[in-house]
Structure formats: C-alpha cells, structure tokens
Amino acid sequence: MSAIGIDDIEGLLGESQYEEVGEFPVEQGYIWTTCSSVENGNPLFWDAEVAEAVTGGPIAPPTMVSVWFRPHHWAPNRSTPGLPLQIHFDLKEGLGLPEAVMSDNTIVFHEPVRPGDRLTTRQILKSVSDQKTTKLGTGRFWVIDVEYHNQRGDLVAVESYTGFGYRRAGTEETP
C-alpha cells in the first residue's frame, strides 16, 4: 500500500492493483447473518430444496460480494488491519484528505457466488476529479472499480465506487 499523490494518478488509471485472495471462503453462516440483519426471507438462502431447484444448490446473496473481502478486525501476525478498498485510502493519504464518504456505488452481477468459493479481487482506479467544494468540505471525487473472480476464473461481479475525499471547512492541513 502506498499513498497516491496528484502526480501518480495518470500512471495508475486503468491499472490493476491489489489483487488478493479472500481471507476466508464464502460461508453459509455469514449468509444467514446478513439475511437476518435485513430480515431477508428469500427461500434461496434458507431452504435447501428451493436452492437446489432454482440455483442448483446454495448461493450467497449477490449484493454480499464485497463482504467476502472485508478482513478480520484482528488476525495473528498482522500488525495493521488491512483495508478493503485500499486505493481509496491511498488517495486520501496521498492527496491529504482526512475524511471521505462514498457517494455512488454500482454492482454488476455475473456468475453466482456459492458457499465454499474462494474469491479473488483486484482494484482499478478509473478517474479522479478536479478539486470540488461540497457541503461536507473541499476535496476530490474518484471512481474505483473492483473486479471479483471465483476460484475457477469466472467473473462473479464488478463494483464501481465513487468516493469523495475531503477536508472539513476550518480544519488545518496536515503538513
């Protein structure tokens, strides 16, 4: 991981970065935890016979695709927690923008994700805007694509995130 300064942006646009295999396989327990958190009773996720008949066996909710890459809060032999959208944090650091929000998020779904799958992800910086001022503060918008593949090499999803990194009005710039 390395900070992305303003002069680094052009060379990184369209480049694949941070390819990594998920820290753990897609698991049924987390599927239930997520469905429970939003009271999603879709029988695909709760009834094995329905899942077999409709999707050829159990699948994960498609919108969970990024969940499989959020690292454990702690793991042995790791000094700092990993960050799932590292380019976002590289931009914050390199551009000196201490705060950030995500404003826009598109997910396109390809092959279903199934319990036991081991997914791979990679991040691609697509664009960085000129400086803008919003009600949150002054900063820049950026778009990052995240591609997900399963262990067979099938594309399972592509996410595009629009982030806004900013400095709150009245706060001092870090030297």
Partner: protein, 159 residues
Amino acid sequence: MTTPTLLHGNVQAGQELPELAYPVTATTIVLGALAARDWRPMHHDKDFAVNRNGTQDIFLNTPNLASWFERYITDWTGPFGRLQRVTFRMKGSIFPGDTMVFRGAVTDSGIDAVGCGWVALDIAVSVDGDTKTSCTARVALPTAVDDNPWSRSGDRWTP
C-alpha cells in the same frame, strides 16, 4: 415443486412495488455493520460518529443498505428474480430512531439479445419524506413458468 411467482409478462412500466417501512434502531445499525464486516467506528460508536464524523449518530453502512435493497427487490420478485445490476446514490444517512421507507416502481422492461427478460426499477429509501439513498436496478424475471434466469451463464447472461 418450485415455480415462479412473478413472470416478466405480468410486469409493466409504471407498476409500483409494495412499500416497506422499517423502524431503525441502534441494533439495526450494528447488526448491519457486523453482517457487512464493516468494523469502522461510525457504524457502532456514537461518540466517534458525532465528534469525529460530524454526524448526529451512528448510521447504516452502505453494503448493508445494498442488502436491504436486495431484500426489497426479491420480496417482490420471489426467488426466481435474479439481479443484473444495481446503482446506489447516497444522499443522506439513516440513523437510529428513523423509520426508513422503501418505495419503488418499474421504469422499463424488455427481452435482451439472448432472450433474457428484464425489468428496470427506480427505488428510494426515505425518512420523513426525504430520500436518503436512491437505487436503480435491473433484474431478470422468468418469461414463462418453465424459464429460470438462474440457469443462464456465460454468453447467455449479459447483465
């Protein structure tokens, strides 16, 4: 025997999805943060959310909101509905004490070049009439009782 409950031919542009209203508590926010493995403090630590982020309280995290939208869509389609794409635009946060209300309507429908039926949806989640996140979605629906969008893969699935 599992059969589709909503067929592509029974859906027209302008049709509205049933409304879903849900009272949000701190538990809703924290359950969602843990479910999405989002350990960042603004989704469970009110002091951090208020004094560091400048928000009124902890708030729902975006990946969990995606799970809410998915649930809202598939409550309507049933298990044969298969999401093709979703776009979220976050306008404001959802806090404990809010009642979030999901409303949606069909904006378009068609059959793609490989024969897959799809519908486009405009959905919004609002609190007290203010839209907090809007969502456009495209979801595949069976074109007949013996059609199943989940059976499509490779060149036959063009989301």
